[in-house]
Amino acid sequence: MSQRVKIGALELKNPVLTASGCFGYGLEYDDFFDVAELGAICTKGLSLLPRPGSPPERICETAAGMLNAIGLANVGVEAFCREKLPTLRRRGIGVVANIFASNVEDFVAIACRLEQESGISAVELNVSCPNVKAGGIEFGRDPELCARVTSAVRGATSLPLWVKMSPEAGDLVQVARACQDAGADAITAINTIRGMAIDPQSRKLRLANSTGGLSGPALKPIALRMVWELASSIDIPVIGIGGIATAGDAIEFLLAGATAVQVGTANFSDPCAALKVARGIRAYCEARGLSASALVGQAK
């Protein structure tokens, strides 16, 4: 049964992607599996210039999840285009470039740089990072700011444009609609939720950044609810993300209305997690004689 899905004009070989920040630049998986078997990868958030990221401690495990405050450490869009993208292209890996900036001009500049390259399937705007002072979640909470970034990048690139939502946007549907009206082709939901942890012995905060983004299975019911609300309220496709570790988790998101899914934190405990999700969905579809796209929004 066909696993192909369409997200606007973009067709993917299957509905499973890897989440930004949880899969590096896709080249770290050579030892484990052929990444071209996935629908696509979302790169680590790319900024205009390289960023070193936050001081340690950057991560901390919590109940059925983890907190991270990496601070968007990345090689920058130029190094990505020169050093990573050619290999990804050669291997036939679908690439969604996740991009981040602290102002509209830089978002546009990154998009313009990516526009010069072939081999990029879509651009995903990170307007929802909880761990940086400027930009990030500041944009993601405000429908007008979100629309302004979306519209500016829309004008700078012909690539499919996705916007990654913060679960902390007051009215998620309103923000998503603003992005849709500004020219977004899809909405990715959701990014992490801010949380924190304290060591009772030393009384110290566990993260140097004080707070961090919560990810992992603990997030799944919240993410699923948000995807379900969005899918029934907007006209463009929703890409579901939040605590997906198994094919069963992913199928829940498809049934809730997601056209595709992203696997994030699960990659950390099993580098082949996304591949197992993709194969599990295919087995589920074959057992029922259904295509992957036939599952979308079919929750009763």
Binding site: G21, C22, F23, G24, E28, D31, F32, K44, S47, L48, L49, P50, R51, P52, G53, S54, P55, P56, E57, R58, I59, C60, E61, A63, A64, G65, M66, N68, I70, G71, A73, N74, V75, G76, A79, S102, A208, G216, P217, A245, T265, N267, F268, S269, D270, P271, C272
Partner: protein, 285 residues
């Protein structure tokens, strides 16, 4: 004491990591806190001294979520790890019974660098940090080296495997409470023990390694340290294991370490709060 080999020992070939499910072959306890877990891996672990594995119980479900980075205590077809009970994950490992399945992702990271020809290796360990040093000590002895070792802990209960280490190296022990060996810390002894023809390999608590690195630096002695940091993935993706360097950037302990030249590390507490402007140094990962 025999002379150390003068010919160069080639760095061993690093194997590709594999994600495997292995049965626990046995668990040996050293008091309530320290346990050696040995796994059955007929195809061979390919692990070198200083490398590590990400270890997680196959039946853990969704919590604890993440695998634990563990230095190999031995490799081959019976890879083993030494754990100290600190949290939920290690508490479960301490109760594990033979036959229980574990996921191991390994071998990961950079192993210990072989000693320079003509130099004598001195191994300086603290507590659970003995694991990669004992593995390395065996490797060195097999190649004709006669390592010296210095092993410290809070009390004699914090010196698991000191007997094993004493069998294959010239060992000195310290405890903070004086219950075993000399009263004090390894760093109290190190300064007197150091000779110009030595190279130091260290693994233990951050503060201990920071002092060892400082002493070696002052005596112009090469020191390799095995870094320990929180890690989610172990293979360069989560970027959780950032360690600040003296060059004002971060190195990632999982792929650039865990064994690194101690002079590269900025050991000061709270180091790494670099200028976070976008034009600051670039991470290598």
């Amino acid at each position: 004491m025999s002379e150390p080999p003068v010919a160069a020992v080639n760095p061993p070939e690093i194997q590709k990591p594999k994600f495997v499910s292995l049965p626990l072959a046995g668990r040996e306890s050293f008091g309530a806190s320290y346990h050696v877990l040995t796994f059955d891996h007929p195809e061979g672990s390919g692990a070198l001294p200083g490398q590590f594995a990400m270890v997680r119980g196959a039946e853990w479900g969704e919590s604890p979520l993440l695998p634990r980075p563990m230095s190999y205590l031995s490799g081959g077809d019976s890879p083993s790890i030494l754990i100290k009970v600190l949290g939920e994950g290690t508490a479960r490992m301490a109760r594990a019974e033979p036959g229980e399945r574990y996921f191991l992702l390994g071998p990961l990271g950079r192993p210990w660098r072989p000693p320079t020809p003509g130099r004598r290796p001195l191994l300086v360990g603290g507590g659970v940090g003995i694991a990669p040093l004992l593995f390395f000590c065996r490797w060195l002895v097999e190649r004709g080296f006669s390592p010296l070792s210095l092993y410290g802990g809070r009390s004699e209960h914090d010196l698991p495997l000191s007997r094993e280490l004493s069998k294959i190296s010239d060992l000195q022990v310290t405890t903070e409470d004086g219950s075993g060996g000399a009263r004090g810390r390894v760093t109290d002894v190190l300064e007197k023990l150091l000779q110009p023809d030595m190279e130091v390999y260290t693994c233990g608590p951050h503060r201990m390694m920071a002092l060892v690195a400082d002493i070696c630096d002052r005596h112009d002695i090469v020191c390799e340290a095995s870094l320990e940091t929180p890690m989610a993935c172990g293979y360069g993706v989560c970027l959780g294991c950032a360690v600040p360097t003296t060059e004002g950037r971060f190195l990632y302990a999982c792929v650039e370490g865990p064994c690194v030249d101690a002079r590269r590390v900025d050991w000061r507490p709270g180091a790494g709060a670099f200028d976070r402007a976008e034009d600051a140094a670039c991470p290598s990962a």
